[in-house]
């Protein structure tokens, strides 16, 4: 599917007016900007999930069982406590639902998330590349047309 519309636009481009080309360029610019933003956000999400995996691994270490901790009640008030059930985690699965999981399935859950994000990132990258290619083609023809216009002007 991406190949045929691309070809069609390349054929069409030369027939378009300067103004139309400029509009297409602007649109492509916007799309690329939007997609790059999404790309950045996905990367951030991926980093967050990877951090979760590390945290789960660290906390579920059996050496942590029964250790003293300070539990924040407010940002300035803490009460002492002890860690128990070190292998049980509450995972936010989305839309307000939380599921209780042991460390193994928690890590699996986050690993799956990271993998999905990786796949999405690769897909997104190909889309951005395609758009950049289109943009370059439009820019080239835009420049050609402008030069042709300038050459014609003095006569």
């Amino acid at each position: 599917m991406p190949a045929s519309p691309q070809q069609r636009t390349t054929v069409d481009l030369k027939a378009l007016s300067l103004q139309q080309l400029a509009e297409i360029k602007q649109q492509l610019d916007q799309e690329i900007e939007h997609l790059s933003e999404s790309f950045q956000k996905l990367r951030q999400a991926q980093a967050k999930f990877e951090e979760c995996i590390v945290t789960v691994k660290k906390t579920s270490d059996s050496a942590n069982e029964g250790k003293d901790i300070l539990v924040p009640l407010t940002s300035s008030l803490y009460i002492p406590g002890k860690t128990t059930e070190i292998d049980t985690f509450m995972v936010d699965v989305g839309t307000g639902y939380y599921v209780e999981k042991d460390s193994k399935s928690t890590i699996l859950f986050f690993t799956n998330k990271v993998n999905t994000l990786k796949k999405n990132l690769i897909d997104l990258e190909t889309v951005v590349q395609g758009k950049s290619q289109n943009l370059r083609a439009v820019e080239e023809i835009l420049q050609e047309k402008m030069q042709a216009n300038q050459a014609n002007a003095p006569q």
Partner: protein, 124 residues
């Protein structure tokens, strides 16, 4: 001499009125698009939850965040809830799509009308 000029002012007034309408429709259009995007985000999030529930054992402990508390909920109920929500969102998406299509059509016809009107004004 006076007849065509009043005609022209009338056309101009109509043109202005119409371009105002056109602008309003454009605003509506972007509003509908934003609503559609939000619905898509909700759909995806609920789908993720549905997939996650499908992987869970039937005795898995599920909690629903209601205000500041987590209420326990059994899996069957939670799954049903998410299924229902997905159904609702899909319905809403269909509604939003028809809204968008209608708005697009009205934008198109208004644009054409504006163009012919402008040609008429400039041609006189």
């Amino acid at each position: 001499m006076s007849a065509p000029s009043t005609d022209l002012t009338q056309e101009k007034q109509r043109f202005e009125l119409l371009s105002q309408e056109f602008e309003n429709s454009q605003k509506d259009y972007s509003k509908f698009i934003a609503a559609r995007q939000q619905l898509e985000a909700q759909l995806q999030e609920n789908k993720i939850v549905q997939d996650e529930f499908a992987l869970l054992k039937s005795d898995a402990k599920i909690y629903k965040l209601t205000g500041p508390v987590l209420l326990p909920q059994d899996k069957a109920e939670a799954t049903l809830n998410v299924d229902k929500r997905l159904e609702f969102i899909r319905g809403e998406i269909k509604r939003a799509e028809t809204q968008i299509a209608d708005c697009q059509k009205s934008l198109e016809s208004k644009r054409e009308e504006l163009l012919t009107l402008r040609m008429k004004i400039q041609g006189v």
